[in-house]
Point group: C2
Chain length 555, copies 2
């Protein structure tokens, strides 16, 4: 890979392009480098035991002397959750809006990273980083203080939308700054990187306003307590609940550690405004009449430890669901969470609650946080980019977003449908993929970062499917012959009933192996032979393939 | 539980009430018993290694002397897949429509159950089973020959809808027989058991007609090959594809064993009608021009071994996806399959295919096979049942269906929101749950039926999350002291790098346990102590909890 020309820039997505989550992008010139976002991704179901996934930062670490800043578009986990990991090895100042800093600060404190400079940006101010400068502009999203970023580079202007939708009547934050996008478009945009999360949805995402109305209606009409589940980071939604509670004359009770922490932080920073006394401690709520109570907590995704999941199985310290309760899912299941959400809904119905959720017809209790096709086209038409790169999406979202861009007249060779790790190099006129940066999944599992790899996950999948059978064989260290009782232990595997039992036949199989004159004496080889023969026997008899561990123990 | 009164009947769901799948219901009088359906259910993601789930038939087996017949509503797996298991222990004649028998016959042959009598029913004929008689009536569903069943019992008329929707213009089968439902209603229905699968969907499911139109449009306009994925049992959909192929002048190629088998069977029985030469062998298809080709196969659910999944990863014997191909998902993901379907869509886009799927805006390439709320209300208003039992649904579906029935004026005490195993006893006037039949999940895993239980699944979940660490400890059989090298093997678990390595520290922990004067000498206790101490060490150091197997080996 040749050097970056002095009039060039490299755009390198390390996460979020081909996946939903662990968003991270590098903007690199000959002399300087800035990072946009550093998030986590939640594991898919076959990534057993993995807590979450962060981006591979090898390419960045090799260039850390050029690193000038982290520019963070907003405070969601998939944009800030990776910061504690990357900052340890590649520290640099963080530029972001105030609420975003509030959310980042908690993480840095937990990780013992107190030295990192946090710079609260002004909108429309241009921040210089050598050959790169950056200006943040407001966008509407499901969290306040969400932004996009316009970057001036030697090759021209790059516009990165962050996560956005076009909501002309957002609840707390500013609407997406369409006039600014238009003036950037007039100035001439070299490359547009635009959010593809809902590029498969026709039309226009409804405004957050309809959610406020729907929630207020429920708070006014529900006969008993109202319990609302949403994300702890949905600050604007929380404000709507505060407003609805005030109108309906209900007192608000917040449950759950993350929700309490965020409400406290958001009130201190002035993001949530509630009249004196409207919010009270959850432990007090039984002293109020049911029709005067609204409770808010996490659990809209069916997360096992969340407030709502606990309530749904009668395992919450403060709240016992009963007939007359109305439970509202002010959320929609993230793909992969459907089963867990359905289970929670089922359990709540079973406890006699009236459950309102998008899938059950209560369509307005939640709206999406990302742009649909008409909004994406609006941005394309305002920005009129020379080149286009769909970001934040799985492959089909990127493909459908590209189809939209093509339909808006951007030529095929100007549409860069790339995947994480692609190194797109731009000059004023040319655009070309010049190489590939490492971009594999880095798994975080407990305290292990990067230790879990494909082998470990393959073993876990194997163990999950059919369990493990351990066979311990005592071998005489002088003669190499079997020297005692064989020990067979199965976990997650079923011995079928038969006579002689299958377990006895495993032991017999081992004895037979030793009876053969040519049985291997070398340790490793012996274990392999035993493993293969026992696996074969078990498969023939049960049509299952447990992991077989044969341990030859010298005695 | 007291005996059944001579004027009474028991209605006992053994599957499909509180779950989607493994549908099975018993209708039992003092003297006689008939079974409606016997299906399988597919496992949810946390039931590791399980192939599928069948109903617990203990209650039936205890009364097999009263068993008169199996009445099968239609030929889907969740209604017939359990037959080979239950027929082995409780044989009885099977009553069903012709296509349903065609699908059952294959299963019975595979299971070596040749003695079972298969009786092809006439619609509107009443079949007598002692104190019970049964009349089948046609319903529209996503497979031809779908029926509901009206049963005359000492306590009155029971109407069981089977799986249905109200489609006035179905493609091959008869529409749901609303006039018959109305006349049954006039006669007086004691109990209505009605399909709840889509009780959460407002409105009316569109007719299969719109799918035919959408597919024809694609077959006419697509520039190259068209590849359509659907279920092998979707005989009507296959006929629509045949019709569309004919209109568009394309030749149809069928790929995949189950699809080929079903097309062959359906043509032989006269269900699929295709002009001579329209259907050709898949191995010939490259001899045709791309715009003259349509290929049909399974894979609409992202099933790993299906035709479409193989094509999506370039692993299909006959078909290599290329630019210009149009791939149609004439299906929608069953809950739980979303991730697999999305992965297949992504991979097909990556191979440059144009992909049409419901989630990507091609809404008419598939319609649901079950009734929405307006259809459910229509049936309730025609049948006017005295009592109501929602069936075929998870709890929320049953709850929402009950809400509909309540809104139609059925009193609360006449709505029986039950779960599998409930024994509902009816007389002409009374209705009461009198007991509970065993209704736990029976897991089929390889050749094991019922062997996999909660303990096995709990172990598999544990293994899946953090793997297994096996520690083999040689112990002197005379002194009870450590007598040689400790062997430590980890699978699916990560040793973090440190010094001394964690693995060495595990060995050290074992040695320390033996150094203590009071260390247990009893085998089982010793292994427990070692397991507990090693687990504790690993958790402290890694925040992971692998399964620890400590094997003390006497030497």
């Amino acid at each position: 890979m040749s050097a970056i020309p002095s009039d060039g820039v490299r755009v390198i997505p390390l996460g979020g392009v081909g996946d939903i989550g662990r968003n991270m992008m590098l903007i690199e010139t000959e002399e300087d480098l800035v990072v946009i976002d550093s998030g986590i991704m939640f594991p898919s179901e076959e990534m057993f035991g993995v807590d979450y996934i962060i981006a591979d930062t090898t390419y960045l670490l090799e260039r850390r002397d050029k690193l000038r800043a982290y520019l963070i578009t907003h405070g969601h986990e998939d944009h800030i959750g990776g910061l504690p990991y990357v900052l340890r090895d590649a520290p640099a100042p963080i530029y972001a809006m105030r609420l975003t800093h509030g959310l980042i600060e908690v993480k840095l404190r937990d990780a013992g990273l107190k030295e990192i400079e946090q710079i609260t940006i002004d909108l429309a101010t241009e921040y210089g980083f050598g050959s790169i400068s950056a200006e943040f502009f407001p966008v509407a999203h499901s969290i306040p203080d969400a932004t996009g970023i316009a970057l001036r580079t030697p090759a021209g202007l790059i516009v990165h939308t962050g996560d956005f939708k076009i909501d002309h009547t957002p609840v707390m934050s500013q609407p997406t700054d369409l006039p600014r996008l238009a003036s950037l478009g007039e100035e001439g945009v070299r490359l547009l990187c635009s959010d593809s999360t809902y590029a498969d949805r026709a039309g226009h995402t409804p405004s957050e306003l309809v959610v406020g109305e729907a929630l207020e209606q429920i708070l006014l009409s529900a006969p008993g307590r109202v319990i609302i589940a949403t994300f702890a980071s949905q600050i604007a939604r929380l404000q709507q609940i505060v407003d609805g509670a005030e109108v309906a004359g209900r007192t608000l009770f917040v449950t759950g550690r993350s929700m309490e922490k965020n409400v406290k932080m958001a009130r201190e920073l002035g993001y949530i405004k509630a009249p004196e006394g409207l919010i009270q401690s959850i432990s007090q709520h039984e002293q109020f009449a049911d029709e005067d109570v609204v409770i808010v907590g996490t659990g809209g995704q069916g997360e096992p430890m969340s407030a709502l999941s606990r309530m749904s199985v009668n395992d919450h310290r403060d709240v016992t669901i009963r007939s007359g309760d109305t439970v509202v899912f002010s959320s929609s299941p993230i793909p992969g969470n459907e089963a867990a959400v359905n289970r929670t809904v089922d359990n709540l119905f079973r406890l006699q609650a009236d459950v309102r959720y998008v899938g059950g017809g209560a369509v307005n209790v939640h709206v999406r946080g990302h742009a649909g096709q008409e909004e994406l086209k609006t941005v394309l038409s305002l920005v009129q980019p020379q080149d286009f790169m769909p970001i934040h999406g799985e492959y089909r979202h990127l493909a459908l977003h590209t189809r939209l861009a093509r339909s808006m007249g951007i030529p095929e060779e100007r549409c860069h449908l790339l995947l994480d790790g692609a190194i797109l190099q731009l000059t004023a006129e040319t655009s070309e993929v010049v190489g590939e940066a490492p971009a594999s999944y880095v798994y975080v599992d407990g305290l292990t970062v990067g230790g879990v790899d494909h082998t470990v996950l393959r073993d876990r999948r194997h163990l999950a499917r059919d369990g493990v059978v351990t066979v311990v064989v005592p071998v005489d260290h002088q003669t190499g012959q079997l020297a005692g009782q064989i020990d067979v232990i199965a976990k997650g595997f079923v011995w079928m009933d038969e006579s002689p039992t299958l377990q006895e036949r495993v032991e017999e199989q081992v004895r037979q192996a030793f009876d053969r004159d040519d049985h291997p004496v070398e340790w490793h080889e012996l274990q392999n032979v035993l493993r293969r023969e026992i696996s074969g026997l078990l498969y023939r008899e049960t049509r299952q393939r447990p992991m077989v561990l044969a341990v030859a123990m010298e005695v």
